[in-house]
Symmetry: C2
Subunit: 106 residues, 2 copies
């Protein structure tokens, strides 16, 4: 029950839906790229990423200073159906913009 509510709660926010879809569409991305793509302050992005991770949708991979977020794999059928539903939403998703001064994707 608590786990279910955590999952549902994690997608009950427009900002998180957009971030989740952004990652689903772009694959693995680092926090600074999300930050500059969405033009939101870092603490806000970081907090939402944590909630999506705790909701079971994302995984993190730290490499050096950078944290790379991607869709967790394997993803159970329920979360897959949610992700699919989100992919249909009519909502503005920014294009990926590189944000780190020393390229995190080099």
């Amino acid at each position: 029950m608590d786990n279910f509510l955590k999952t549902v709660g994690s997608i009950n926010d427009e900002t998180r839906l957009r971030i989740l879809r952004f990652i689903n569409e772009n694959g693995e991305v680092c926090v600074c790229d999300i930050e500059s793509s969405f033009d939101m302050i870092q603490s806000r992005i970081s907090r939402h990423l944590k909630i999506l991770k705790d909701g079971g949708f994302l995984r993190v991979d730290r490499r050096g200073v950078w944290a790379y977020y991607s869709i967790r794999f394997p993803l159970d059928a329920f979360r897959q159906s949610i992700l699919k539903e989100i992919s249909f939403l009519d909502v503005d998703i920014p294009t990926l913009k590189k944000g780190c001064s020393k390229g995190c994707s080099i």
Copy 2:
């Protein structure tokens, strides 16, 4: 997007999850029966039923003084998958208790 958030928001509450599953397990029930089965005040039940209805999970049928709530049919695949997931949750669902003075189920 707004519609999706309304759907997700409607199941982002323990009380509503329990009510939704109660109706899913018992079929068509009237408000007074939910009220006495859950031992919650009427305004609280009424509010949650409205949210679940607006979330697309329930339908209402008014007959006389009574309002009978049941799972909306047909239910799209996404809401069906949610309902299925809810049916697996480890949570206490009360047994149906008749609540109306003049039986609503006669």
